[in-house]
């Protein structure tokens, strides 16, 4: 008897697993679009910094390489065995010469380093400036995206105000009663349909919410919205009527 049930059970568990996975995968997708847009732009910022750095690094090794061959030519002079003393003297001379050379080189190096540092500083400054201007550019780009949300928000505020102004609660209304209405809007701001999707349990309250929307009637301001913003936020929207300012 139980054996007969194992297969269906396994199947249901498997499918529920799929459903769970689907919910879990689906869930982050439902996060506000605004946030996603913002993270993408932060990534873009990192890329631009990487582009700038490689330009600096190859510039340094190019200046260091020409110094090494001069040391190798000094080693070759050791091969002559005919005059060891001379060679020793020469060596001493060479040492002296080397020392002076190395001193000069050191000085040169120091000067170069100073130069390099100065250049570095200049470059860092330039880079900073560039980064600053870049970030300003990025900010404005970010603004364009967030402004869609902000834009939507300001229109949400408009709609809220308009409906609140036309909402006349019945005296039987109580704080924290809740009715949810589904609205369909046209890009012209006209209300296509209003439906109570979740009743408060008080028909007079539900009707007052419905009438408030219909009394507000049109939201002509929505015409000014970019069509994308309208489609994303306002084509279909839900209104939750839940009074908080009543005395009872």
């Amino acid at each position: 008897m139980y054996r007969a049930l194992t297969l269906p059970l396994l199947v249901t568990i498997f499918f529920h697993g799929i459903i769970l996975a689907a919910i879990l995968i689906d869930a982050p997708k439902e996060e506000p679009k605004v946030r996603r847009a913002a993270t993408e732009y932060i990534r873009a910022e990192l890329v631009t910094i990487e582009k700038l750095q490689p330009k600096k690094k190859p510039a340094k090794p190019r200046k260091k390489t020409p110094k090494k061959p001069s040391k190798k030519s000094v080693d070759e002079s050791k091969a002559k065995r005919l005059a060891e003393e001379k060679a020793a003297r020469e060596k001493a001379n060479q040492k002296q010469a080397q020392e002076t050379k190395s001193k000069q080189e050191k000085e040169r190096k120091e000067a170069q380093e100073k130069k390099r540092q100065r250049e570095k500083q200049q470059r860092i400054q330039e880079q900073n400036e560039r980064e600053l201007s870049d970030s300003i550019d990025q900010e404005s780009a970010l603004k364009q995206v967030t402004s869609a949300a902000e834009l939507a928000n300001s229109y949400i505020a408009l709609i809220t105000e308009s409906i609140q102004n036309s909402w006349s609660r019945p005296p039987s209304a109580r704080n924290n009663m809740e009715a949810e209405l589904a609205l369909q809007l046209m890009p012209t701001g006209e209300v296509v349909s209003v439906n109570v999707v979740k009743s408060s349990g008080n028909p007079a309250f539900d009707r007052s919410a419905e009438v408030a929307v219909l009394r507000a009637g049109r939201f002509p301001e929505l015409q000014q919205l970019p069509i994308k913003v309208f489609e994303d936020y306002f084509r279909r929207l839900h209104l939750k009527f839940r009074p908080e300012d009543l005395r009872q």
């Binding site: 459903i19 709609i159 019945p170 007079a204």
Partner: protein, 434 residues
């Protein structure tokens, strides 16, 4: 078997995906409202009951709705048509007038009277809200009108209408130098059809309704000292209930109608007692050397609120009848008295002295203790509340004369009720009447 399971799971999956999709929609929260009065057009009912219309039924309905402060009737001059039934209604016309609701109807003759057939429409959703009829006779046209008002009000507000209830109050009219005629009067809630229940050269005080609305109790001085009387309205039969030494006052009916709370000073200072009406048996409820007076029952009948100055100043207290446990209710202000419980029992109304020294009617939430002053005049007294808890009736002074005034419990609207008999005071709003 497996197939059906798979199918079920798939349905499940689709459902969940759909729910997810639905959740993605923008949800706007509306948490405030302006609560402007609802606009309603009451089109004059078509009179088809023969002869001239003795009473303007439509005007009574309009006035009923307007007095609540929750409705603003449209002027008849602005109406674009006069429909009397659904086939004659053009929503567009009414929408242009920004009318929320439309009430139409006609008065038709019946075998032994008249009937009002009426329909109420929601102009915005273009739906009929209610269609009903109210029967009566030519002499009860006012009752028909109030009946229609009750139905319309309940449908639109979610609260039972109280337009068919009555008001009880006392008037004093100077009949000669230093002489007064006292009258106990009953009227409709709009002040119409005022009639005399009792006329006396001696003062009449604190009238109170029994829960069935057929019997009243009051204090009369006709026996040279205050005594409590019971008066059956339908038979006009009077019964004297008390004749104790000292004070006999402030009768208040229990919610079950079987007992009367009252104030007696037979044992010293005034205290609260409860009398079983059938057996006349008395039970002492409070026992304090200070003055305890003005009892009023909580809706469950298990406790009584009353005024006491045991703390030095008059304040409202509550006593539980089963164990005599007493508890102070009001703490705000130096004077709170004459409390009445709002139907539902969540708050009380009372006379409250403001910081400016004015006596005003205030509403106090019992649980939270918050006080809200409802009236703006300075000598307000004897608050009484409508059975649906929406309106408050009280006595005040207007141009030196005692009158009755009405205020909605949300503090929005105030009306003065005229009486033809001099100074009016001590109003009591009746319960719902059968």
């Amino acid at each position: 078997m497996i197939r059906t399971l798979v199918a079920l799971c798939f349905v499940n999956f689709v459902n969940i995906a759909f729910i997810n999709y639905a959740q993605a929609q923008l949800v706007i929260e509306i948490t405030q409202g302006r609560d402007d009065p609802t606009s309603i057009a009451v089109v004059p009912f078509d009179w088809k009951a023969g002869g001239g219309e003795p009473v303007d039924v439509t005007a009574i309905i309009e006035a009923d709705l307007e007095r609540t402060g929750q409705f603003s009737p449209v002027s008849r001059d602005d109406m674009l048509g006069s429909p009397h039934e659904s086939s004659e209604v053009f929503y567009r016309d009414w929408r242009a007038l920004k009318v929320d609701y439309l009430l139409v109807g006609k008065m038709l003759p019946t075998a032994n009277g008249v009937v009002a057939e009426y329909e109420l429409f929601d102009v915005y959703t273009q739906k009929m809200v209610v269609k009903d009829r109210q029967v009566g006779t030519l002499s009860t046209l006012r009752d028909i009108a109030h009946g229609v008002s009750d139905r319309v009000y309940e449908k639109l507000t979610g609260i039972r209408g109280a337009f068919s209830t009555r008001l009880l109050y006392v008037s004093a009219l100077e009949s000669g130098p230093g002489q007064f005629t006292y009258r106990l009067l009953i009227s409709d809630v709009d002040g119409a059809r005022e009639r005399v229940v009792l006329e006396s050269p001696d003062p009449i005080l604190t009238p109170s309704w029994s829960p069935d609305g057929d019997t009243i109790a009051y204090v009369s001085f006709e026996t040279s000292r205050p005594a409590i009387f019971m008066h059956k309205l339908s038979t006009n039969q009077r019964t004297q209930l008390t004749d104790f030494k000292g004070l006999n006052g402030a009768p208040s009916w229990s919610p079950d109608g079987k007992s009367l709370a009252l104030v007696l000073s037979k044992d010293g200072s005034p205290d609260i007692y409860v009398m079983n009406i059938e057996t006349r048996e008395l039970k002492r409820v409070t026992r304090h050397y200070a003055i305890d007076t003005e009892p009023s029952w909580m809706p469950d009948g298990k406790s009584i609120i009353y005024t006491s100055d045991r703390g030095g100043k008059p304040q409202i207290y509550q006593v539980t009848l089963a164990n005599g446990y007493e508890e102070r209710v009001t703490f705000d202000g130096s004077y709170n008295a004459r409390a009445r419980v709002v139907p539902g029992g969540r708050s009380i109304i009372m006379v409250h002295r403001s910081e400016q020294g004015d006596y005003q009617i205030a509403l106090q939430d019992i649980q939270r203790g918050t006080i809200q002053v409802l009236t703006e005049t300075s000598l307000d007294e004897s608050p009484s509340i409508s059975p649906n808890g929406a309106m408050l009736l009280y006595a005040t002074k207007h141009r030196g004369k005692g009158i009755l005034a009405e205020v909605s419990l949300d503090g929005g609207v105030k009306n003065l009720l005229p009486s033809q008999y001099g100074d009016v005071r001590e109003p009591a709003w009746s319960p719902y009447l059968q």
